[in-house]
């Protein structure tokens, strides 16, 4: 038996087309006869049999073939051809059933972790993805009808908070802040004022805005953008308020409202989520007493505000009066910052938010000079 091999016909083509077999399957081919015709992109080429034999075709007419492909065989006799065919199936000419046998790398890895054999994956049919393997695992351990897969965004959040938990040794301090002065300035909410106050604290407390590099030095930011937590039910986002020094309280509010709309429709732009150097966790629901946030690496601090709480206190004359307060906290990376820093930082924020003149000043858009002095 000899193979009929595709020679190198020219240097240009990756492949040729076998346009014609010049002998039928099982027919005797004499030596030196042209047995098939190959077509290149520019010419046809006759393939000559070097010795005689009974033809067995492996490739159909009009099929594509490459240099060194075996396209057919020549047997010494018809009997030898029959014997050969009895033991070996011819190569299938059509591609296999749709998508069977395709397994993604992630699926293969996951299957390996759970001791699932490749044959079991192939039995699933189609392209096997990691989700298919997880479903298979869940079916086996009986949790299939109780599984709720995390969305891609939720998985990304999970990765960030795991990293925070594993890498940032955080401590936490909180103070009580009066919300009474906020009633006089739109939008009469604490988040916007706290964002302005955080920005204002930069000059005195730059380390809260830095990132720790290799445990030896803190790199300060080139832009003081503040990340604010937003969760509209489709997962947690840290959305960026670009440097608020140049923004009035209502402009900060507009930015937050825009982010809320994006969170509702899941249509954040990448730029909305990039580049903050400190975080603010906003949880201003009534009766939320205290929020201890996680720090989003590479940040070293995350400020938090809780919900409004009514309480009794004594006025200057010792008479009982009601006021509204909220808890202002800061989680901080204890490798960079200490408890004393945290208390001073919080008191600085508190003083701004409780200061009538400062709040009034923030209701108008600062001009460029004030913004840089701020």
């Amino acid at each position: 038996m000899t193979d009929i091999v595709v020679p190198k016909v020219n240097t240009n083509d990756e492949s040729y087309v076998l346009t014609d077999w010049l002998f039928a399957d099982g027919q005797e081919v004499p030596a030196d006869a042209a047995v098939a015709v190959l077509e290149t992109s520019k010419a046809t080429h006759e393939l000559v049999a070097e010795q005689s034999g009974v033809l067995h075709r492996l490739v159909a007419e009009n099929a594509e073939c490459k240099q060194n492909d075996v396209i057919g065989r020549l047997f010494a006799s018809a009997a030898e051809r029959d014997a050969f065919l009895a033991t070996e199936r011819t190569a299938p000419e059509a591609a296999g059933p749709p998508a069977d046998g395709l397994i993604t790398d992630a699926a293969r890895e996951e299957a390996g972790r759970h001791g699932i054999a490749e044959s079991e994956l192939l039995a699933l049919g189609g392209v096997v993805r990691v989700g298919d393997v997880r479903r298979l695992v869940a079916e086996r351990d009986g949790t299939a009808d109780r599984v709720r897969p995390l969305s891609r965004h939720e998985q990304a959040v999970a990765a960030v908070v795991s990293e925070a938990h594993a890498t940032v040794p955080a401590a936490f301090t909180a103070v009580k802040v009066s919300a009474d002065r906020l009633r006089d300035v739109p939008p009469a909410r604490p988040a916007e004022a706290v964002i302005k106050a955080i920005r204002q604290a930069y000059d005195e407390f730059p380390l809260f805005f830095g990132r720790l590099r290799e445990g030896r030095e803190v790199v300060l930011p080139d832009r003081i953008d503040i990340g604010v937590t937003i969760d509209a039910g489709h997962g947690l986002y840290l959305a960026t308020v670009p440097d608020p020094a140049g923004l009035s309280l209502s402009q900060v509010a507009e930015t937050l409202d825009r982010h809320h709309r994006s969170a509702l429709t899941g249509s954040f732009l990448q730029a909305d989520l990039d580049g903050s150097c400190i975080g603010l966790s906003v949880n201003t629901y009534t009766d939320v007493a205290l929020v201890v946030p996680l720090i989003f690496p590479p940040h070293v601090a995350m400020v938090s505000i809780g919900g409004p709480q009514r309480e009794l206190t004594l006025d200057r004359d010792g008479r009982p009066v009601t006021r509204t307060v909220f808890t202002l906290g800061v989680a901080y990376d204890h490798r960079v910052l200490g408890g004393r820093d945290a208390v001073r930082f919080l008191k600085h924020l508190k003083a701004s938010v409780e200061n009538r003149d400062r709040l009034q000043q923030w209701t108008t858009t600062p001009n460029a000079k004030e913004a840089t002095d701020d």
Binding site: T40, E64, P98, A99, R129, F268, L269
Partner: protein, 336 residues
């Protein structure tokens, strides 16, 4: 037709076009039998339609000039350029005569010249026989550009271009000639092709999860094979779900046909195999940015050939052409 190759489908289409209207003529270098054109696209035409096929001297501006003159008399004219690189020699007749004649004479003058040209590398033909010159003709008023694909029947596409009453250029990636016609249906184990908007609309290539979409690749027919290999790698190596849209008409480009998929995809990647800068990809990206501003989560990614002369040596040629690896790298960088 089962087992048909793209050049055979093209040849069949040309036979149909000359057969349906005895006034239709075809001009080009070496198009007569037995040679039948450098890539055999015109095989058999001069034998069957001896009065409609004209072999010309080597003078591209002259060839298109004669074609335009015939077209002005009301005839449909097909021109074969031996290589698309030589379009630049006929630039004046295409831009200043053919495209302008439509609207320059105070009344609309239909002008039915279609210039077909083999383009693209991968054959080792060197710097001046391997280019993709599409971008030089984008935005010429009254000039349509289309590109051959394995999914679109050239007969329908060429008939449409010939019947519009405005001149057109039809780009044929030379790698495609010897490849099998795909049409609609299953292509391989992964990809399925559809022509949801009919034989002239874009081909849509999907895998077994057509509804999940991480990446949309928009590319002309010559790049589609490389895009399919990139899509396979993105899925099997990185579990990123890709859809590919292959428009037949490059210009004017119908943005509507890709808006739905582009709005849903995390990454939109427009691929062309000409050098970057003022190209088709950036023009399409701009249309998408304009239409989907505020909806796209990141800028449209464009992938183009390296800004270099195309080398002859095959291993160097591959460093300049767009390959699947370059598409994969660009998409992964975008989702990182």
């Amino acid at each position: 037709m089962a087992g048909e190759r793209v050049v055979e489908a093209l040849n069949r289409g040309l036979h149909d076009l000359l057969g349906r209207d005895p006034g239709t003529v075809l001009l080009g270098e070496d198009v007569l039998d037995p040679y039948g054109g450098a890539f055999r696209a015109t095989k058999g035409l001069s034998t069957r339609f001896p009065d409609q096929v004209l072999s010309t001297p080597i003078s591209e501006n002259g060839i298109v000039g004669v074609a335009n003159g015939l077209a002005l008399t009301g005839r449909r004219v097909l021109v074969e350029m031996m290589f698309g690189d030589f379009l630049l020699l006929a630039f004046d007749q295409i831009v200043n005569f053919a495209a302008k004649s439509v609207s320059m004479y105070g009344r609309r003058v239909p002008l039915r010249t279609v210039v077909r040209c083999p383009v693209g590398g991968g054959r080792g033909y060197g710097p001046t026989h391997s280019q993709n010159p599409q971008k030089h003709l984008i935005g010429v008023p009254h000039l349509a550009l289309a590109e051959m694909s394995a999914f679109h029947d050239p007969r329908h596409v060429l008939a449409d271009l010939l019947d519009r009453g405005e001149p057109a250029v039809f780009f044929e990636d030379k790698i495609l000639y010897t490849q099998p016609v795909r049409g609609e249906g299953r292509i391989d184990r992964l990809w399925v092709a559809e022509l949801p908007a009919g034989p002239l609309g874009p081909a849509v290539l999907t895998t077994d999860r057509p509804d999940t979409l991480d990446c949309l690749i928009v590319c002309p027919g010559g790049v589609a094979g490389r895009a399919m290999r990139a899509g396979a790698e993105l899925l099997l190596r990185h579990e990123l779900e890709t859809q590919i849209i292959v428009p037949s008409r490059l210009w004017p480009f119908d943005t509507k046909a890709v808006l739905d998929a582009a709005g849903r995809a995390a990454v939109v990647c427009v691929v062309e195999d000409g050098p970057a800068g003022g190209g088709w990809g950036t023009a399409v990206a701009h249309e998408l940015h304009t239409a989907l501003w505020g909806q796209l989560s990141r800028p449209v990614v464009t992938v183009a050939a390296e800004p270099e002369v195309i080398p002859t040596a095959p291993h160097l040629e591959e460093t300049v052409r767009v390959g699947p690896e370059k598409i994969v790298a660009a998409v992964r960088e975008a989702v990182r």
